[in-house]
Symmetry: D2
Subunit: 271 residues, 4 copies
């Protein structure tokens, strides 16, 4: 094991200096602008996505949130000054669920436009694929193009993969939200999964765990609420449309930050 | 001409409804976050880039600014809510020059990551090519990843084209700038150029004009200054490195907005 | 004009050495693999796209071809060995039309994934926008993944812009086509158009011509025909779906090459 | 485990129908065009990249191959007709090494432009990151742009990541290679690695194995050899330049196909 220890990297590739690694080791620090739309999908379609040990939250009646995020990432070496490598955009769905008595959110679909983000996500359990993600930004210089945090401001967002539009949202701000925890208040559970390619064992994944995302110093600031629209169309080769909205609730725009240094394994499905 | 008038679009493609046009007609409204680095290049290399009627500003001694911009665009139809189509990033150089007695900035190189921006730019005279542009952003939620507008915050920026890094900058904020016009104070001149492909006439461009960019309601807010680094390496197939820095001055981070509805033609080179 | 002549470049940016120009001067040499689907659209919708001087071909009854092309480009300096800059993919529609007695094809919509190709296209009159284009390729090494030129081989193709799928095609090869001119036999007409931004003159384009694409040494080889499918869905902000298929004909897969050194101006709409 | 089994997908995301999975289950069929350059690097730099159980091949004296590949992939559902999702480009280095007495090639660096390819690669042990990869293609229609398989034809290739050019190659064909196994003749070993994020266990990867890539029905056809150039420049944040060429050998252009249904685990480093 001696030589192995001399190769460095939290993830691949492992090299003598560790510079080429797809992502630096934790701590991972994040700050973002977020656009999230509350909506309801067919409860049976939501339940069908949940892994063992997680059940649909009957009181939620199929409630989901579709999120779009512009992220800035840094580790301990000023990674935020290398935005070509580490800045990224993300879109995901969170569905209301129960882990025992605990009200949780479960993430069945997530898309990012950056490979460092994909690698961190897989290490946590986020089932990330690549996508092209955009959201209207709020700029400081006054203009018809500025989208300030003010009543009447309109924001749009979208996610596409392999040239197919997977979701489109629009919100119009109405009023600030004094307490963001009235909106965002469930911890996130995910399924950490790494496949096995050895013939005859392809149904025995190398890693298959239910995990709980642990975040340090979470902050949500400048939350506004308003009216919202959301479309999740059916496209070839995808099944996310099965949790398309049957009803759309409120839209939210806010900023969020936290750090990641740890992960909780709730259940090892291979045990 | 009747039928021609029924096809709509400020630019190609022209269609009966005009929806597919690469860009909507003016007014064009813009708001942005900007990172700009003042630097000095070899004065002869700067002078060699200037078109007829524009001369190097002898007092400038080769002074240039390298800009990186995250832009939001809108026209009159809420284009800012379609960020997948209209939000974009840009990088350009401005060199100090004189048009008669007027102190101007001339733009010899510019890169964007969006075709609507490229089309608007060509219509004005900006010699836009496609590139991949990034800058560190300032986020509201406090974090090591947030890059707030505060002393000590570090920002990076870069531009690449066809997989070659063309410029990389870093700045560290020191103090606010009370009056942005002490920094940004020259109107922009450009060369509006559209080629001719007819054999024997390929040296007689269809459009060849010196133009002055006209902007309405310009606003610069939240300007900070600090130390700066800038590299413009030599790469195959490019000549921007000829105005690489011989000396780097201050770095600036600010937000800027304006609208465009008009253009001034200073000179028609074909006349 | 002396100094002006010292700046080089067929198109922007003009520089002392001309290396940074978005595209080198002609001759432009091209070789490609092509997938084309013959189809019929609503004849009135086709006619509505034609510029003055071009009329619908009444015998064509709305016939169109939707093309997908993988292109290799070179000029006189081995540009084909810089594929990151010059290799590209393209998708376009050609609609049957008449210019006087001449049976022509007119190009109302075209998408490319490369800015050098966009610049050359605009110089000719092709109304190019950026898109993401893919087609199944035929590889020499035998495999279920090889898609050989043989009966039963299936090919797919698609084009997307700003994360919206604009067209998807599939063909299945049946038999070789002995004489490609029975399929591809109309010269291409296009509208060369460059806008005017000066206030009050925005409806007077700087360039507005009907042109005829001139090609040297055209070669079409290895043409196969087969069954075909084509979809052009309606998406937000686009109007290409107005010429969606009402009926789909044959699909074709072939290779094509030619050079471009000239352009014919059929009509100057500003005269 | 019952419910778990009802969620389908070889890799994430797991869904009731399995359509959204980043990659379909094996068999995986591949066909490609390849450009490979033989070169020698500093032997100590090569040895420093090898994992435990693999040692440098002393007779190889630092020999490596830098490969560029245009790939077409298919599974059992005509995935080759969805090139927007499954067609991709790749670049990697293989270094000569020994596993016991077996002459093998080890892959320390690899880049792809597609997430399905990244996911398959990680499952095998290829340390894939995202990059932008291009190679000159050989087209059937004769032209200065066609790059035929013939003496004197020139091909270029490049790989970039986050806007930094990581490698550039050029070859010029001289003669066919009758027996490709004189050139490509070592099985590929890789390190299958999946990290652990739980605090205190981040140096105990969840998966850490030495694997041997197993390929069915390998075919190499149309191999040509010629002169070659290769550059692997030093760029910020990367360490691949440590195995930059000290000497460049021959360049090769060929087509290759195989299928993947299995993987051999040579060693479990955690045991």
């Amino acid at each position: 094991m001696g030589a192995a220890n001399q190769l460095k990297g939290f993830a691949v590739p492992l090299t003598p200096e560790g510079k080429s690694s797809i992502v630096p080791p934790p701590p991972w620090h994040y700050s973002s602008d977020c656009l999230a739309v509350e909506y309801w999908a067919e409860p049976a379609a939501v339940a069908a996505l949940l892994p063992p040990g997680i059940v649909a939250d009957p009181r939620a009646e199929g409630r989901c949130f579709f999120w779009f995020l512009d992220w800035q990432f840094t580790g301990e070496n000023d990674e935020l000054t290398d935005p070509a490598r580490y800045q990224y955009r993300e879109a995901f769905v969170l569905v209301d669920a129960l882990y025992g008595d605990l009200r949780v959110a479960y993430c069945p679909y997530i898309f990012v436009d950056n490979d460092a983000a994909l690698a961190r996500g897989w290490a946590q359990g986020f089932p990330k694929r690549l996508g092209s993600v955009f959201q209207t930004r709020s700029f400081a210089a006054p203009s018809a193009a500025a989208a300030p945090l003010a009543p009447g401001s309109r924001f749009g967002a979208s996610v596409a993969a392999h040239g197919e539009r997977l979701a489109t949202a629009r919100i119009q701000l109405e009023e600030p939200v004094a307490d963001p925890t009235t909106v965002i208040n469930r911890p996130t559970t995910i399924r950490r999964y790494f496949p096995q390619l050895v013939a005859g064992k392809q149904h025995e994944p190398a890693v298959d765990e239910l995990t709980l995302s642990l975040i340090d110093d979470p902050r949500i600031v400048d939350m506004w609420a308003g009216s919202a629209e959301l479309a999740i169309p059916e496209v070839a080769g995808e099944d996310m449309h099965r949790i398309a909205p049957t009803r759309v609730g409120r839209g939210y725009r806010f900023s969020m930050s936290y750090s990641v240094t740890d992960l909780r394994i709730l259940k090892d499905y291979r045990a």
